[in-house]
Structure formats: structure tokens, C-alpha cells
């Protein structure tokens, strides 16, 4: 590890010297700020690894338009204040050409005013629908929205004929935004929210909240949360013997959740990007080869894949394609080209962006999956 840091420093120094000599072949600078540590680290960490892996890969194949890519990134720790100062640093000090980052909605929303003011293309990796609704000129995003996740959950509930739902959500930005969508969409699907509990994301026990939910007459429980808390909720339900269907959010679509919750995770349903169930897709699915390729590379280098790294892959590839079409990293042209992304097959689905849609995914990009035998199974 230590050697790598020094060699990195050495290499960057050499690159810098080289770039100064070469002059013309300056690298295209991709800026990134991610929550690599902190409560959202299991989103930010695979995002960073994915960006690093593919930037290296693209450079090995000759770069973009004959120019190398250079990745500059900062760790926000999930703190929006740091996101603001790092985005300023990227724009003003590092003079990056495009920003791909913003692990959490809070981080993303915090930097949008600066991004819009400075006019730099920004592809966010965060969930909430408010990032692209209303549309902001310079802001795009690659993950599905939390509203889509909620719609998917409610559709599944309707199929099973369940109408009374209890909510239990954490106190983070992802959780709160999800809760809002759950409350907002409920009437459309004829769902009655019979309990609405919350917990702190670092809490170690949620039995009190679940005990309160038990007599509410709920037919299913929906938990929106990140990190270890959803696993604790799942275990606590089992402990209390609450035998209701449990729906989790797409925020737990990583192997860690199954490892932490153990047997209690059996039967849990969640909407997830197809990445985690790539092998189960029909052979003709156009996404399948891309998914399997990403999965193979990521797992060869870092271990079990999660959907979050996939969002970074999608963002980077959309950006690279746009830079290629624009003929270089001119900010305004690249922005226009990103907006023109059509039929791009990524890990999250097929992207069709437009001036009114800066995400470009449809609801069928999500699959409802159930955890069976310690693995995800598509239930549709």
C-alpha cells in the first residue's frame, strides 16, 4: 500500500513533467467527489474503485481522442459541506473538464448551485428524483430515482393484494427522501400507511420501533435505509417473530446486507438494478454481456459487485462517449452531447436522455428481487 502511494506520487510527478514537455497532449481531467468513507462508504467505495479501474483501462487502450484521462477525486465522508468545498476545488483549483460524483443526494444538491454558476457538466451518482426534477442545465444522473424504487415496491404490493403498510426509515438523506416518496405515492396505489417510524442510522437496536409497528395492523413493512441499519431491522423482525413481508430499498442491493442479516434476510424483497441478477437474465437481453463483463472485471479485482459501482461505470461511459462525440472536452459541447445520449446500454438499464429528462431510465430498468438461499432471485 505504502509503496503504491509513493509510486503514485512519483508517477504523477513524472506525468506532470511529461505533460509540461509535451504541451499539446494534456490529459482530459475528470473530477470526482465521493463519500468513500462515512455512513455511505459502501456506495462511495465501489464507485471510486470503478472509476479508477476504468480510467486506467481507457488509458491503457490509448485514452479518448488520443488524450489520456486523469481522475482527480476527493472523499467527502458523506458531508455536504465538504462536497461544496471539494467541488469548488475541482472547478477552480484543479480545472477539471467534467465532474462525475456525488454519492449521496445531500452531497449532490449542495454542489448544484456552484456547478450551475460555473457551467461544468456534472453527472451525479445519487438517487433522489429532485436532482433532475426540475431539469437543471448542467446536471445529469445515472442511478434510478427513489420514486422509481417506491413505485416498484408498491406495484409488487398491489400484485400481492396488500394495502396496509408500515414504514420504518433511517435519519439520513437517502432514508428521508425515500420516506417522502413512500408517503407521496401511497394514495396513487391505494396504499394506506398505518405506521411511520424512524431510527438513527447508527442505532444498534430497532425492536422498540418494530414493537410499536406490530399492533398497527400492517400487512407489510417497508424499510428505507443504508448501511448496517437495514440489516439490524431485518434481524430484529425475526427476533420479535413479526411474520410480515419485508421490503427493503435498492440501497441494500449489495452482498454485505445478506452477510450481515444472515438467515433473517430470507424472503426479503427489494427493487434492484439488474446488475446483481445478471446471470438470471435471458440470453437475448442486450444488457447481459455488459453486465457480465463489468461484474467479471470488478470481482476479479475487488470482490463482490454491488449496483453502486455500476452507476459510476454508467456515468463514466456516458461522459467518455459524449467527449468523443464533442471532439474534445469543451464544456458546453460535452453537456449538449450528454443530453443527446440515446440507446446507451449501461449497467442500470438503457439510457435515453433528452432536454426534459436528464436521467433517461424507465421503470423496467428495475427488477423486483427476493433473497432466497443467500442470493438474489428475480420474482417477476
Amino acid at each position: 500500500m505504502k509503496d503504491r502511494v509513493w509510486s503514485n506520487i512519483l508517477v504523477s510527478a513524472l506525468l506532470l513533467a511529461g505533460a509540461q514537455l509535451a504541451g499539446a497532449a494534456e490529459p482530459i481531467k475528470i473530477g470526482s467527489f465521493l463519500a468513500v468513507t462515512g455512513p455511505a462508504s459502501f456506495l462511495g467505495d465501489p464507485e471510486l474503485k470503478t472509476l479508477q479501474m476504468y480510467v486506467e483501462d481507457i488509458n491503457a487502450r490509448g485514452g479518448v481522442k488520443g488524450r489520456k484521462l486523469e481522475l482527480l477525486h476527493y472523499d467527502t465522508g458523506g458531508n455536504a459541506k465538504d462536497a461544496v468545498s471539494f467541488s469548488k476545488r475541482l472547478i477552480k483549483n484543479d480545472n477539471v473538464d467534467i465532474i462525475i460524483g456525488g454519492t449521496t443526494t445531500g452531497d449532490t444538491m449542495a454542489v448544484i448551485p456552484d456547478v450551475e454558476k460555473e457551467g461544468i457538466p456534472f453527472i451525479s451518482l445519487a438517487g433522489a428524483v429532485e436532482i433532475v426534477e426540475p431539469v437543471k442545465k448542467w446536471v445529469f444522473k445515472t442511478p434510478h430515482t427513489d420514486r422509481m424504487a417506491v413505485a416498484k415496491i408498491y406495484e409488487d404490493l398491489r400484485k400481492r393484494g396488500l394495502t396496509k403498510v408500515a414504514l420504518i426509515t433511517g435519519d439520513g438523506g437517502f432514508d428521508k427522501s425515500g420516506r417522502q416518496q413512500l408517503l407521496d405515492l401511497a394514495p396513487q396505489y391505494g396504499i394506506a400507511i398505518v405506521a411511520d417510524e424512524s431510527y438513527g442510522n447508527k442505532d444498534t437496536d430497532m425492536t422498540a420501533q418494530l414493537t410499536k409497528i406490530r399492533p398497527s395492523g400492517a400487512q407489510a413493512i417497508v424499510n428505507f435505509g443504508l448501511g448496517q441499519a437495514p440489516a439490524i431491522v431485518t434481524k430484529n423482525m425475526k427476533q420479535l417473530g413479526i411474520d410480515l413481508p419485508l421490503y427493503q430499498s435498492h440501497g441494500v442491493a449489495s452482498k454485505t446486507f445478506i452477510d450481515l442479516a444472515g438467515e433473517a434476510a430470507e424472503g426479503v424483497r427489494l427493487p434492484a438494478a439488474v446488475l446483481v441478477v445478471a446471470e438470471q437474465l435471458p440470453g437475448a437481453d442486450p444488457q447481459k454481456p455488459i453486465l457480465l463483463d463489468y461484474k467479471k472485471r470488478f470481482e476479479a479485482k475487488y470482490g463482490p459487485v454491488s449496483t453502486f459501482g455500476g452507476h459510476a461505470y454508467d456515468g463514466l461511459m456516458i461522459a467518455v462517449a459524449a467527449i468523443e462525440r464533442a471532439g474534445g472536452p469543451d464544456k458546453a459541447k460535452v453537456r449538449d452531447e450528454i443530453e443527446k445520449t440515446r440507446g446507451f446500454i449501461g449497467t442500470a438499464g438503457v439510457f435515453n436522455m433528452s432536454p426534459t429528462d436528464h436521467m433517461g431510465l424507465s421503470l423496467d430498468a428495475f427488477k423486483m428481487v427476493e433473497i432466497r438461499g443467500g442470493a438474489w432471485k428475480i420474482v417477476e
Binding site: G78, V84, S85, R89, G106, M109, A110, D171
Partner: protein, 321 residues
């Protein structure tokens, strides 16, 4: 001496943007450092001079920030008026809290202030209708000083640098005033101070309120400068960081607190390039400084400098005084 130090400091602050125009580390980091100076200098009045610890100072910082955020975005108040309201609110709460809380000592006071900080933080996260919840509030308008919009990094540097200097100047004056002397007596021995006829409760309450006002003022500036607030900026870790600034720089010295604030801001900004090693280095540096310079950077280095100076002088034949 004091005036000399202040002038030198002010000259440095004023020269920086001239020497390095539009440099990220001067304008953006400088603003952040300036806000920290206001916070640390205010907290130092309480910690350094009155000897009362606070592990909840971020709460007052947050009150100032949220007052500005809520009043300007939801009720379209002018920014200066919103800031004034924030000062009033924080000052009032500090005044109400001071009497019961400052009866406590040492670790119990630390606990109570910490608890207060956590309660305020929980409210920021949970009262979504008012505060925007964990995602915070965006779109806060820039500061408007009687028609002059502070909307560029360089203008912000000017405003924050000027107010930080004002904070230092105010602090120096408070320390030399009657209240300052009373406070130092309280720090030495509260009992003895009371015996000498000093109204210690009054003195402590006053400094607590003043210190909260400094923090709320920084909070208001922070909200307008970032155009965005979220509870993360006012959690326990921020409170702890403020205490570290004061102690790192050197307690009971206004310049020490200011130095600590600047040093820690630069340290945080500089260490990010080490990525995963950041925490390790941060922790190690903190320990090393406190072990070898327990009086803080400012006092410790000052002393070291003086000793070196004396050594140089004596080598050249002129005996030290």
C-alpha cells in the same frame, strides 16, 4: 506589542489575495479558515479565559446558519435582518441555558453541552418541514450589505477576513476589560473570585452569551456563503473540532485560537490528497503536537522561537536579558 501583532496579522490577511489573486487556497480555503477563526476566538473566550469547556458549540453555529437559511428562503427576509434574528435567537438561548449549565464543572459541563449539541442536531435532522431534514436547505441568497451583493469568492474573502479581524480585535478588548479580568479570576479559582466580590455567575453568563453570539454570527455568514446548510455541518464532530482548534493553537490566547483555527483548516484541506491515509496522519499529528507542545502551537512555537533567538544572540556576544 498586542497592537503590533494585530497589525502584522491584518497586513498578512490583506496581502494574501493581492499576492495570489484568484487562488483557490486563498479565497475558498481562506473563507473557511476565517469563519473558523471567528468560531475559535469566541470559544476561546469561554474555554481559555473562563475555563469552561463546551462540547456543543456547533449548536450555536448551526442556529445562526439555520436562522439565516430559513428566514431568507421561506420568508424572504433581507439577509442582514435574518442574521440579526439568528444572533438574537442564539443569544437568548445561550442566556437561558447559561445559569443551569454553568453550575456544572469539568466533565459534567462537557456532558451537558454535548447533550445540548446533540438535541439541537436531532431537531435539525427531524424537523424536516422547517429545516429540510438531513439533506438540508439549498438556495440561500448571498449576503446583501445595503445593496452590495457578496456573491464572488473574492468578495467573500474580503467580508470574512474583515469580520474575523474584527472578532480578534473584539476578543482582545474583552480580555483586557473588567469582564476579562473577572473571567481570569474565575478560571483561577471561582471560589476565591467570589470571595473577592466578583459576581462569578454573571461573568460566566456574559461570556457564554458572547461566545454563542460569535458562533451564531459565523453561522449566518456560513449559510450565505455556502448558499446551503445541512445538519452535518453542525454535528458533534464539528464541536469537537472547534475545541481542538482552541487547544491546538493555545488556550487563553486570542492569537493562539486564531492560529489553531487556521492551522486545522489548512491541515484538513492539505491531508485530503492522502486519501485512505488521511485519518492516520491526522490522528498522529494531533497527538504529536499535543505531546510536544501541550501549551499549543502558538505559545509553544513562540517560546521555541524566543529560545532560538536568545541562543543566536548569546552566540554573537550580547548576553540575554
Amino acid at each position: 506589542m498586542r497592537l503590533l501583532g494585530f497589525s502584522a496579522f491584518a497586513a498578512g490577511v490583506a496581502l494574501l489575495p493581492v499576492l495570489f489573486p484568484d487562488n483557490y487556497f486563498v479565497t475558498v480555503v481562506g473563507v473557511s479558515a476565517g469563519l473558523h477563526v471567528i468560531l475559535a476566538v469566541g470559544l476561546n473566550l469561554l474555554m481559555g479565559y473562563a475555563g469552561q469547556i463546551s462540547l456543543g458549540h456547533a449548536a450555536f453555529f448551526g442556529m445562526g446558519a439555520y436562522a439565516s437559511a430559513i428566514l431568507t428562503t421561506r420568508y424572504a427576509w433581507p439577509s442582514l435582518l435574518a442574521m440579526a434574528a439568528g444572533l438574537l435567537a442564539a443569544g437568548l438561548i445561550a442566556w437561558l441555558l447559561a445559569r443551569p449549565i454553568l453550575r456544572l464543572r469539568g466533565h459534567y459541563l462537557a456532558m451537558a453541552t454535548l447533550g445540548f449539541g446533540i438535541i439541537v442536531h436531532v431537531v435539525m435532522v427531524q424537523a424536516t418541514d422547517w429545516t429540510g431534514g438531513p439533506d438540508g436547505m439549498a438556495g440561500i441568497p448571498p449576503l446583501n450589505l445595503l445593496g452590495w451583493e457578496i456573491d464572488s469568492d473574492r468578495r467573500w474573502y474580503g467580508v470574512v477576513a474583515a469580520t474575523a479581524l474584527l472578532a480578534i480585535w473584539l476578543s482582545l478588548n474583552i480580555v483586557d476589560s473588567r469582564i476579562g479580568r473577572a473571567l481570569r479570576a474565575v478560571r483561577g479559582s471561582e471560589f476565591a473570585a467570589r470571595m473577592m466580590g466578583i459576581d462569578t455567575t454573571r461573568a460566566k453568563t456574559q461570556v457564554f452569551v458572547v461566545s454563542a453570539l460569535f458562533a451564531a454570527f459565523a453561522g449566518g455568514l456560513f449559510a450565505h456563503q455556502q448558499a446551503f446548510v445541512s445538519p452535518d455541518s453542525f454535528n458533534l464532530l464539528v464541536s469537537v473540532e472547534l475545541v481542538i482548534m482552541v487547544v491546538l493553537g493555545g488556550m487563553a490566547s486570542t492569537f493562539g485560537a486564531a492560529c489553531g483555527a487556521i492551522a486545522l483548516t489548512l491541515l484538513n484541506e492539505g491531508l485530503v490528497v492522502f486519501e485512505d491515509y488521511e485519518m492516520l496522519i491526522h490522528g498522529a499529528l494531533l497527538m504529536t503536537v499535543m505531546i510536544f507542545l501541550p501549551q499549543g502551537l502558538f505559545v509553544g512555537l513562540n517560546r521555541l522561537g524566543r529560545r532560538l533567538w536568545i541562543a543566536v544572540l548569546s552566540r554573537h556576544g550580547s548576553p540575554p536579558q
